[in-house]
């Protein structure tokens, strides 16, 4: 059982002037594929490096399995080489002067595995990753995908307690990235090793992870499954970060007219869906943000309570769907539809699915009501 626990982790740079991570708490379960996601500078890499022992945090405690590896309070600092982790870096960090065979053997040599066993395990690992024919090459003679595999091989060869990945796919071209994503996930499922994965790419995070932690400015924005993040974002930041194309966000005021509650977005008005009334009741005359995903918008010919009159600006054909970039006069919105005959400049009515609407508090950014999830 190898879980990873991070307690009250704080790390600052430049003598405390820049706070990279603030009071972070986190539990990663045994065998879980856990992703640290966020824009650059959000503290995800700092968190990963602290777990690896490559950075010493200012405060906090890190426990891997049942061993405390970092504790500022108890002055414990286990060096990276003694943490029994494996890591894959963004640039793969393959030792340029070594042949692949030697690179794979290096972690085993360091812990004193005997020669014969090393040879066996190198062959085994090479076979698993389909790199047996590359064993006598140096990194300079390998393609991006091959380097990636060698780096993966080096990570799995010593049966580490935990895998750490620092944006391992970001140097690959788009096609290869999708394949490696699948291979990486499959490998992790097969080996069942607890994995911590850092990326800024939400598609990567969503497609691979059991759970995701989205970070912003050194703090946790939300922890949850891909579905949680997508269907139940806790705040505007999560809502806008997760999902492609991003969620449409429209500033509104809640108003009461003729005894009914309405969202007033200047350009249009929309009744508050009945399921939301108990929560929105408290927000009368307050500024809120209405959020709805492009996938939950459809074209409509008739009138609808949840319809918005818009002008089509650009139609993007994505193959499996079309993206309509539209404008209602003051808001730029995106609709993703399966079929359309819309032309730029044309007037249209788009309809929002009221079940899929999210409402956020404008001031705090926190979600007031989320969409109904499937």
């Amino acid at each position: 059982m190898v879980s990873v626990t991070v307690k009250n982790l704080t790390k600052t740079y430049e003598g405390g002037n820049t706070i990279a991570v603030r009071d972070l708490n986190l539990v990663i379960n045994d065998g879980e594929f856990f992703t640290l996601l966020g824009p650059s500078g959000c503290g995800k890499t700092t968190t990963l490096y602290s777990i690896a022992g490559l950075l010493e945090p200012d405060e906090g405690e890190i426990v891997i399995g049942d061993k405390v590896v970092t504790s500022k309070a108890d002055k414990i600092r286990v060096y990276p080489q003694d943490r029994e982790l494996a890591m894959v870096f963004q640039d793969y960090a393959l030792y340029p002067h070594m042949k692949v065979r030697k690179i794979l053997a290096f972690p085993l040599e360091n812990i004193g595995v005997d020669k014969h066993e090393i040879e066996e395990r190198v062959e085994e690992t090479a076979e698993l990753l389909d790199i047996s024919n590359l064993l006598d090459r140096k990194p300079g003679q390998l393609s991006g995908g091959q380097r990636q595999r060698v780096a993966l091989g080096r990570a799995i060869i010593r049966n580490p307690k935990v895998f750490l990945f620092d944006e391992p796919l970001s140097n690959l071209d788009a096609k290869l990235r999708i394949r490696m994503r699948f291979e990486l996930k499959e490998l992790q499922q097969k080996l069942g090793i607890t994995t911590i994965y850092v990326t800024h790419d939400q598609t990567e995070a969503m497609s691979m992870s059991d759970r995701i932690m989205l970070m912003k400015d050194g703090r946790v924005a939300q922890v949850g499954t891909s579905d949680d993040m997508f269907h139940r974002p806790k705040n505007i930041f999560v809502a806008s970060f997760i999902g492609t194309p991003p969620m449409n966000l429209v500033d509104c005021t809640v108003v009461r007219k003729n005894g009914k509650l309405w969202f007033d977005a200047t350009e249009f008005e929309m009744p508050v869906p009945p399921r939301m009334i108990p929560d929105i009741e408290k927000c009368v005359n307050k500024a809120v943000v209405m959020g709805f995903r492009p996938q939950n918008v459809s074209e409509t010919s008739g009138e609808s309570e949840y319809g918005i009159r818009v002008t089509v600006r650009v139609v993007e054909s994505m193959g499996t769907s079309y993206l309509l970039h539209v404008n209602d006069g003051s808001h730029s919105l995106i609709a993703e539809v399966i079929e359309t005959k819309a032309k730029p400049g044309e007037g249209k009515t788009i309809k929002i699915d009221p079940d899929k609407m999210h409402i956020f508090d404008k001031e705090s950014g926190d979600a007031i009501v989320n969409a109904i999830a499937i």
Binding site: A52, L54, P80, Q81, H97, F106, P107, N110
Partner: protein, 276 residues
């Protein structure tokens, strides 16, 4: 045809040829003089071709220089080994390991490279004498090692700075400690850098005169070739042909090193240059 360009080229190459000529004159006169008899040296210009070439000056000078040449070789080998090895370790520590006041400590160390030899002669002499190393080969090896470390550390720190941080981090996560990272990753991946520093140190220790004169102890002790060469000039007459032949003997090892290492040297300088 662009005449302006052609004219520019003629001026440029003309200038380069002129400077090459000026630079090669001393070497030319050393070679011609070393092949002449004493009588011909006295009568002809230093640049004139020898009419009856003879190898006698080479044989005579080698006779007096062979001992000091061996001593120089031992001192240089020891000094290069010591300063390059320790300098490289310092360079590794200062480029890849962070500790409190590391920059300050490095500046102190680097300052050692810029202290003029002359200013430390007295304390150096006292120290070496107290260690009972005066007039011995180990004394000179120790001096060259100590004096070479700062420069080697500066050079190596620059070269090692070009090794990506992720390589070092990776090696740590792979289970290697600092010493193993140095031996297995840093050293073998920077062979060119080592070639550059070795050549640099070899040249400066081989050509060094002042320490050899001060600490070598003269004839029969640890007198290096550079000092012996100066003694060749004779007390009454200047035997130019013997001196010139001796100078060529003394320059030979450095020349050989440059010929062997030349190819690596240029590549090594380039890696340093590209990193900036």
């Amino acid at each position: 045809m662009n005449w302006k360009r052609v004219f520019g080229r003629i001026v440029l190459y003309g200038g380069l040829l002129f400077f090459a000529f000026v630079y090669l004159l001393p070497l030319w006169s050393a070679i011609t003089t070393s092949l002449k008899t004493p009588a011909e040296v006295a009568k002809t210009s230093a640049l004139a071709f020898p009419t009856h070439p003879t190898l006698a000056p080479f044989i005579e000078s080698f006779d007096s220089l062979k001992g000091p040449l061996v001593i120089s070789l031992i001192i240089t080998a020891g000094g290069v080994a010591g300063s390059v090895l320790l300098g490289s370790m310092c360079g590794y520590v200062f480029s890849k390991i962070r500790f409190k006041y590391d920059t300050f400590v490095f500046l102190l160390l680097a300052a050692g490279a810029f202290i003029p030899y002359q200013s430390i002669l007295v304390p150096l002499f006292t120290t070496i004498s107290k260690l009972h190393l005066f007039g011995t080969i180990p004394g000179l090896i120790l001096t060259h090692t100590a004096y070479g470390i700062p420069m080697c550390a500066i050079l190596f720190r620059n070269f090692y700075g070009a090794i990506p941080e992720s390589i070092i981090n990776q090696a740590m996560v792979d289970g290697a400690g600092p010493w193993r990272i140095y031996r297995k990753i840093v050293l073998p991946s920077t062979v060119l850098a080592t070639v550059v520093v070795v050549t640099f140190q070899f040249t400066s220790i081989w050509n060094e005169y002042l320490f050899g004169l001060l600490l070598g102890g003269g004839e029969g002790q640890a007198m290096p070739a550079t000092v012996a060469l100066a003694n060749l000039k004779g007390s009454l007459t200047a035997a130019w042909e013997v001196q010139m032949a001796g100078a060529i003997w003394a320059a030979l090892p450095v020349l050989i090193i440059y010929i062997i290492m030349g190819r690596y040297l240029i590549r090594g300088y380039m890696t340093g240059a590209v990193k900036g």
